[in-house]
């Protein structure tokens, strides 16, 4: 079964919270190298691991993982800025 590439926001979410890979790995119960593979999108996590990240970051799975390239988080939250006069 050919695996498809999944995209994620693990790196930006970890950076926002000032966490090291080791700290996130310890919370998720995985090796820190696995965090690296996840952040480089070279590994697709299991449902269990994806849900664990949801518990750690207090976000739904679809906010962190996607089968399509993800927009920048700031754009998701604030949307594109309306131009003046329109």
């Amino acid at each position: 079964m050919k695996k498809r590439k999944l995209y994620n926001r693990i790196l930006v979410l970890r950076s926002e919270r000032g966490m090291s890979r080791k700290e996130l790995a310890d919370l998720a119960g995985v090796n820190f190298q696995t965090i690296g593979y996840l952040e480089r999108e070279e590994y697709n996590p299991s449902l269990d691991l994806a849900l664990k990240f949801g518990e750690i970051f207090d976000l739904p799975v679809e906010a962190m993982f996607s089968a399509e390239p993800m927009k920048p988080l700031s754009q998701e939250v604030y949307g594109p800025r309306a131009k003046e006069g329109t």
């Binding site: 090796n31 696995t34 593979y37 996590p45 299991s46």
Partner: protein, 142 residues
């Protein structure tokens, strides 16, 4: 001291080539008319290379420990990688063993003593290190 992926791949090639060279020298030496001393010394040199490679590629990287760890101590990605490594290693090792047995059978049929303990020792080393060699080859970061 971390090794790059390319360095690890080179190390894997050198390590296994040295093992093959050692076996070739050991079994080819008498055919070439070498004395026991020359044969022993000539086989010792690649054996040292094998030993250094074993330490640098398999032990110092932690890969040997990874493939020999208990399943309960591995995370999901490590389980996946070690299973892939075992699958690859089984395929390669079983073919090599069968070839060795076949060669021994053919040699035996022609009145030649097939092999001594050196070939099984080499196969033991291979069995021990093929999974970590696979990981050294494919993993981006070790």
């Amino acid at each position: 001291m971390g090794m790059t992926k390319q360095q690890r791949r080179t190390g894997v090639i050198v390590n296994h080539a040295a093992l093959g060279l050692m076996l070739a020298v050991w079994y080819g030496g008498p055919v070439a008319g070498w004395s026991e001393v020359v044969r022993g010394v000539a086989a010792l040199i690649p054996l040292v290379v094998v030993g250094v490679g074993y330490y640098r590629i398999h032990l110092a990287t932690g890969l040997w420990r990874l493939v020999h760890a208990r399943l309960e101590d591995l995370d999901e990605r490590q389980v996946e990688m070690t299973m892939l490594a075992a699958r690859f290693s089984y395929a390669v090792f079983s073919v090599l063993c069968l070839l060795a047995l076949f060669g021994a059978a053919v040699a035996g049929n022609h009145g030649v003593v097939p092999f001594d303990a050196i070939l099984p020792a080499g196969l033991l080393y291979l069995a021990h290190t093929l999974p970590s060699s696979y990981l050294a080859w494919v993993e981006e970061v070790v």
